[in-house]
Symmetry: C2
Subunit: 466 residues, 2 copies
């Protein structure tokens, strides 16, 4: 059976639903309601008649309608019984949030084995146990916490609930949104490999974020990661890179963190994009989810802030992007259209007297050049009207990366407008360069694989300063 029942279920039972705010059994039920789930929703709790306005059932077997997905929040010792009920009821998939399984030692291992055996016999697929649940925004399903419901094109597989949740929260806050999120937990059944295969083919997912601590079958992981990265960008954050980090991994998810050098090689081989920080992961995924793919490494930086332009230049250079000299015809046109104080080189410094109209002129001219593949536009001052200008050029064919900083209240207003239009904004030149470098590297790698003749850069995962 596939994984569709986790992400597009027609009906959901929350087994262990609670009347008490603050308890997971309450928060999850409420999040499913608030995320706008439209299918059947059935709280199960033998001691309640009604929770959050929904009729409550003693057992999932008592639900008089079909139940496709069960979200399980009862204590571990009851879970095998609950799984038997699910089997009887014909449930197709279960997200087991409860902890107290293999992660706590032999007694929990036995419970996990029992639960899995019952599920396997009945053909029930399991995510978890000991996990932070599943989100599928397009289905209005938030069987997790906190509430995340803004739709987007990033899908997340995470061995850590919090790291997934952080990506979901940031993406919601900036109106970038996510599509699917799976917290793996003990992955007694569904694991990152099966999810990668699924998401690689999932039309709603443009980019996959994977937080991992270890893998059981390295060879298979490399195989599937390679196949996935050929379909769409795969952004990987790996915990346990250091000796003490690896020790912590062992006690967190009983995974073997493995040699970081080997993982690094594997990621390179697979064509995955390695990141080293949760925010970097978000920045890069945001770029893949929203930006036009760059047709090559040549970038022009347009800025109202000389200093920020310099920092962007340093970062682009170090990350393997090509801060080209302005082509002569571009220079010539810019000279005609811009005031004399502008510094007509790359970075193109519109200076402190920059206006939105000047950005408009400048980007129009630069975009018309075939030698330019991407533009980093740094708005380093209060710049009323800049959102409209950026929106005008955002879908113009070139990759346009917007950076805003130091603009006070005007910046907040323009940011809000851009976010509403789905245009991503970066808060520093470096973060923008990092995202653009990842997109460029990925585009080049794909082009190379398809035998196209872009200037190929080595598909390294370079970090700033290396």
């Amino acid at each position: 059976m596939g994984l569709e029942s986790f992400f597009q279920p027609s009906s959901v039972a929350v087994i262990g639903a609670s009347r008490e705010p603050g308890k997971l059994g309450y928060e999850i039920l409420r999040n499913i309601i608030e995320a706008g789930f439209r299918g059947g929703l059935y709280p199960v709790n033998p001691k309640a008649d009604e929770i959050l306005g929904l009729k409550c059932y003693r057992s999932v077997k008592d639900v008089p309608f079909e139940v496709e997905l069960a979200v399980v929040v009862v204590p571990a010792r009851f879970v095998p019984l609950v799984m038997s009920d699910c089997a009887e009821k014909g449930v197709r998939a279960a997200v087991v949030i409860s902890g107290g399984f293999s992660e706590i030692g032999p007694a929990g291992e036995e419970l996990e084995r029992q639960m899995l055996e019952i599920a396997r016999r009945a053909g029930i697929r399991i995510i978890g146990p000991n996990c932070q649940g599943v989100i599928s925004t397009s289905a209005g399903l938030c069987a997790s916490w906190p509430l995340v419901r803004v739709r987007g094109h990033i899908s997340v597989i995470s061995q850590s609930g919090t790291i997934g949740a952080a990506l979901g929260c940031w993406a919601a806050h900036e109106q970038i949104g996510i599509d699917k999120l799976v917290a793996l937990g003990n992955k007694c059944d569904v694991d990152e490999i099966e999810l990668l295969e699924y998401l690689a083919k999932d039309p709603r997912t443009k980019v996959i974020a994977l937080y991992m601590e270890g893998v059981r079958d390295g060879r298979r992981f490399l195989e599937v990661a390679s196949a996935t990265a050929q379909e769409k960008p795969l952004v990987v954050l790996k915990g346990g890179r250091t000796t003490k980090g690896a020790e912590a991994v062992l006690s967190h998810t009983r995974s073997i963190a493995g040699s970081d050098a080997i993982f690094d090689l594997a990621f390179r081989r697979a064509g995955a994009i390695r990141v080293f920080d949760v925010e970097e992961m978000y920045d890069v995924c945001k770029g893949f989810a929203s930006l036009t793919s760059p047709a090559g490494p040549n970038v022009v930086i347009v800025t109202s802030s000389g200093g920020s332009g310099i920092l962007a230049t340093d970062a682009c250079e170090e990350l393997g992007l090509n801060v080209i000299e302005l082509p002569a015809n571009v220079r010539h046109s810019l000279k005609e259209k811009l005031p004399p104080e502008c510094v007509l080189r790359n970075p193109l410094d519109l200076t402190g007297s920059a206006t939105s109209a000047m950005y408009d002129e400048a980007i129009a001219v630069i975009s018309s050049s075939k030698e330019v593949h991407s533009i980093i536009a740094i708005i380093g001052d209060p710049m009323p009207g800049i959102a409209e200008v950026m929106a005008k050029h955002f879908h113009g064919g070139k990759t346009l990366v917007v950076v805003m900083l130091g603009g006070g209240d005007v910046e907040l207003e323009e940011r809000a407008k851009l976010q509403k239009m789905g245009i991503p904004i970066y808060s520093s030149p470096i973060r923008a360069a990092r995202a653009l470098a990842a997109l460029t590297r990925y585009a080049e790698m794909r082009a190379e694989r398809m035998g196209q003749n872009l200037k190929p850069q080595p598909p390294t995962n370079r970090r700033l300063g290396e």
Copy 2:
């Protein structure tokens, strides 16, 4: 004459004040008013009687009261004349915002020379020209843009207006605040060296952020930076590290970016803390401005999120912090006080069932150990009441660094409470570790200089992954 007239002037004239919103002469006057400046404030504009409710004067000479500081926004060609008026009037200091001086070539150089000569004769000190102004929050003075008025203990010297403004805006947004900010511009008179000397002795300044692109006198810079770093932390971001970045520096401020290796060595020698990103600069300054100085490198990580704890461990290890084994007595006490699902090691994983009360117990126990110097508390879930708990331990003697992520709306509420209390929050484990590593390195360097016997770490400026 010293620099006090820039930062605590009794009266200010805005020469070139404008009635038109959007024009610098309007925005700056408005920002001075809105930042709460309480001294005399005199707009000067020959074509207006009143601006923003203030009586307007034809010339600074017509102001019938003393004028200590002039903020000059008129076109460059009028500035020498304006400076003569200021000299006649007995003005003590001038912030020249106007561009069109040495940065544009020989004609501008001549204007700059004239202006400076007049000022020198009259004993007027100049910041600028071609700069984004000066902020001194304790004086309610925002002779710059955008409006920044939240008071704090970070002072900023920046060769880029935007980079200074970004720090000011972020610090305001998080209630961390800044004290003084100077955008250097062409630094025809006051430069970073004199400002470092001033801020080193300034009791309101706890930490100095310096964005620089080059220096005129490297030897003198090293001397003053060393002396400054002995007084208080000096955090340096240097633009123009790469070849193309250095070219951009030349056209931005006509500075020679110089060999990055030599700068790096100089920063190390001086004991300055080098950062590589505007946000990193902010994170580190925020730490110095608000956190207790760590008494040594031993850190314990307390977390509700296993994955975040692992990322923090990796980052701490790589940055030279010491993720110690939990001392036996600490482990023992924790075992008594925490539920059995908690993982009693470092990182201390309170697991998904963590509550604010559990953080309270855990931090109380850990704080009591002499072997622990600092605590990173990662709140990776919605955690009502956590602000009070963090506040309770924040001033308890150990360095306590708070990280919040993945907590949804509850996180936003608790963040707001913590910010109101002046307790800094970091958005990712890595950003927190970076700040803590800088604080630890600085404390160790100072201890070493004072001949104390802390475990000395080499005062390197290591980056993640090096």
